[in-house]
C-alpha cells in the first residue's frame, strides 16, 4: 500500500509520543479502539486554567495511518479551547493525510480519541465542581 508523504512523515517522526499523568486533574485521557480490530489509540490532553489545551500526548497501537492520524491531532489540539477541539472532524484529518478509503476508520478513531479525552477531562471537573 502506498502511503502519502505526510503519513510517512508522521509515522517516522511521530509528534508528541508519550504519556501524561492520568491522575492529574488537568489531564484528560481518551482511549478508543480495540486490539482485536487492530487499532487502539490513547490520547491525552493537558488543559490550563483558561481552558486551553496546552499539551497533548499519544500512544497508538495500529497501522501507519492510525499512528499518523493520532500524531497529527496532538499537533492540532494544542492551543485550542475544548470547544474548538471538539469541532475537529475526521474528514479534516483524512484530507490532511490523504488517507485512502480503507483507512478512513483511522481518522474516525482519532476524532473519537479527542472527544473521549475531552469528555474525561470534563467529567473530572464536573466532579470537582460537585
Amino acid at each position: 500500500m502506498a502511503y502519502s508523504e505526510k503519513v510517512i512523515d508522521h509515522y517516522e517522526n511521530p509528534r508528541n509520543v508519550g504519556a501524561l499523568d492520568k491522575n492529574d486533574p488537568s489531564v484528560g485521557t481518551g482511549m478508543v479502539g480495540a486490539p482485536a480490530c487492530g487499532d487502539v489509540m490513547k490520547l491525552q490532553i493537558k488543559v490550563n486554567d483558561q481552558g486551553i489545551i496546552e499539551d497533548a500526548r499519544f500512544k497508538t497501537y495500529g497501522c501507519g495511518s492510525a499512528i499518523a492520524s493520532s500524531s497529527l491531532v496532538t499537533e492540532w489540539v494544542k492551543g485550542k479551547s475544548l470547544d474548538e477541539a471538539m469541532t475537529i472532524k475526521n474528514s479534516q484529518i483524512a484530507s490532511e493525510l490523504s488517507l485512502p478509503p480503507v483507512k478512513i476508520h483511522c481518522s474516525i478513531l482519532a476524532e473519537d480519541a479527542i472527544k473521549a479525552a475531552i469528555e474525561d477531562y470534563r467529567k473530572k471537573h464536573v466532579d470537582l465542581v460537585d
Binding site: P35, A36, G38, D39, K42, T60, Y61, G64, H105
Partner: protein
C-alpha cells in the same frame, strides 16, 4: 547491502539463472507448437515438453504420463477438486478439507457447495497440524474427495500426508494434495504416498510464474471432468497450446531442486534458526505453528503489542508478509493464525519470514537488528505495551468494538 532484502520466498521466488537460460531458446529459435506433428519445429518443442515432464516426475516420484500441465497451482487445484467432484458425484456428494488451506482450495470448495456438494472444513490442532483421529471421524460413506495441503503457505507446517492417504485409500476416497509450497522443501514420493491428485507450481521453486502441473494417478486410475475444453491437449484433461518455454523452465527448476535440495535445505535451516535465535533477546515474541513438523524455510512470528501493518512499515528494508490482512481492504486477521487459536491481536502482529536460495547470513543479521530496533520503537508508542508494563490484564478490559 541492497535493500529491501527479500525474505518472502513463500510468496514467490526469482527464476534461477540456469532456469532462464534453459527457457530462452524456446521463445526464439525453438518456438514451435508442441502439438504440431508435421514438422521439426513441433517435434523439437514436443521433445522439450516431454523432457520437462520427466524432470518434474523425477522430483515427485511419479510416472511422467501422470502429469498434466496447467497455468499454476490455482488451476491445478480447481481442476483436481471440481474435476473429481463432478466425475464422482454419483458416488456421493461429501468433500472434506481443512480450515487452514490456501484460498485456491477454500474458494473452490465454496463453489462446490454452491453446486450442491457438502463440504466439511476441519479444524487443526494449535500446532497447525490436522488431528488424524478427528479426520478419520469425519469420513463418511458418501465422502468422495479429501483435499489437504502438504506444506502450509503461512506457517510452513507439514501435514502427515502418508497417514491421511492411507485412511482415504482404504475407503476408496479420492485424495488431493496441494504441494505448491512443498516442492524442493520436502521429499515427495508419489510411489509411496497414497495420493491420487497433487497440485504443483513452478514459481515457488525458482521457476517461472504462470505454469504448474497436476498429478493424476493412473494406478489406481483417477478420473476427472475437464474444466477447459479445446484441442484435447493433455489427454483431454486440459486443452490449450502448451507454453513450451514455461514448461521447460518448470522442468529445469525441478531438476535443480532434485539435485540440490538436500544441501540447500540444511543451509536454509541454519539461516532460519539464526533468525529465530536472534529473537531470544526480545520479549513477548511467539512462534506460530509447530517448529519440528515444519519446512526449514519458514518462520512465522507474532510480536505482541505491536500492530502488523505498522511493523511492516517499520521494517520496510526487509520484504516480508504480514498475517494482518489490514493490507488488503478487510480488517480480518489471518484465518490460518485464527485457526491455530491465536488471538486477533497476535494474528495482527505476525510476520512471515521465508528464507530461500539467495538469502545470506548477512541478510539475516540485518533483519534481526532491524526488528529489534523497530519493535522496541513501536512498543514505546504502544498503549497496550504500556498497560502490560503497568500490570494491566488486557483481556480483562471491555474494549469498544468499532
Amino acid at each position: 547491502m541492497n535493500t529491501p532484502i527479500y525474505l518472502d520466498y513463500s510468496a514467490t521466488t526469482p527464476v534461477d539463472e540456469r532456469v532462464l537460460e534453459a527457457m530462452l531458446p524456446y521463445l526464439r529459435q525453438d518456438f514451435g507448437n508442441p502439438a504440431s506433428r508435421s514438422h521439426a519445429f513441433g517435434w523439437k518443442a514436443e521433445e522439450a515438453v516431454e523432457h520437462a515432464r520427466l524432470q518434474v516426475a523425477l522430483l515427485v516420484g511419479c510416472d511422467a504420463k501422470e502429469l498434466v500441465w496447467t497455468s499454476g497451482a490455482t488451476e491445478s487445484i480447481n481442476l483436481a477438486l471440481k474435476g473429481a467432484a463432478h466425475f464422482y458425484k454419483d458416488k456421493g456428494r461429501h468433500v472434506i478439507t481443512v480450515k487452514t488451506e490456501h484460498k485456491a482450495t477454500l474458494d473452490t470448495c465454496r463453489e462446490l457447495e454452491r453446486e450442491g456438494f457438502e463440504v466439511t472444513y476441519l479444524d487443526v490442532l494449535p500446532n497447525g497440524l490436522l488431528d488424524l483421529q478427528a479426520f478419520e471421524a469425519s469420513l463418511r460413506p458418501d465422502t468422495i474427495l479429501v483435499s489437504v495441503m502438504y506444506v502450509n503457505n503461512e506457517i510452513g507446517v507439514i501435514q502427515d500426508i502418508a497417514a491421511i492417504g492411507e485412511l482415504c485409500r482404504a475407503r476408496g476416497i479420492v485424495f488431493h494434495v496441494d504441494s505448491a509450497q512443498a516442492t524442493g522443501k520436502v521429499v515427495i514420493d508419489l510411489q509411496a504416498l497414497k495420493v491420487d491428485l497433487m497440485s504443483f507450481c513452478a514459481h515457488k521453486t525458482y521457476g517461472p510464474k504462470g505454469v504448474g502441473a497436476l498429478f493424476v494417478r493412473r494406478k489406481p486410475r483417477v478420473r476427472l471432468e475437464p474444466l477447459i475444453h479445446g484441442g484435447g491437449h493433455e489427454r483431454g484433461m486440459r486443452s490449450g497450446t502448451l507454453p513450451t518455454h514455461q514448461i521447460v523452465g518448470m522442468g529445469m527448476a525441478f531438476e535443480i531442486a532434485q539435485a540440490e535440495m538436500a544441501t540447500e535445505n540444511e543451509r536454509i535451516r541454519m539461516l532460519r534458526d539464526r533468525l529465530w535465535s536472534g529473537r531470544s533477546q526480545m520479549e513477548a515474541v511467539y512462534l506460530n505453528g509447530d517448529l519440528d513438523h515444519r519446512v526449514p524455510h519458514n518462520l512465522n512470528v507474532s510480536f505482541n503489542y505491536v500492530e502488523g501493518e505498522s511493523l511492516l512499515m517499520a521494517v520496510k528494508d526487509i520484504a516480508v508478509s504480514s498475517g494482518s490482512a489490514c493490507t488488503s481492504a478487510s480488517l480480518e486477521p489471518s484465518y490460518v493464525l485464527r485457526a491455530i487459536g491465536r488471538s486477533d491481536e497476535l494474528a495482527h502482529s505476525s510476520i512471515r519470514f521465508s528464507v530461500g536460495r539467495f538469502t545470506t547470513e548477512a541478510d539475516i543479521d540485518f533483519a534481526v537488528a532491524l526488528l529489534k530496533e523497530k519493535v522496541a520503537k513501536l512498543r514505546e508508542m504502544s498503549p497496550l505495551w504500556e498497560m502490560v508494563q503497568e500490570g494491566v490484564d488486557l483481556n480483562a478490559i471491555q474494549w469498544a468494538a468499532h
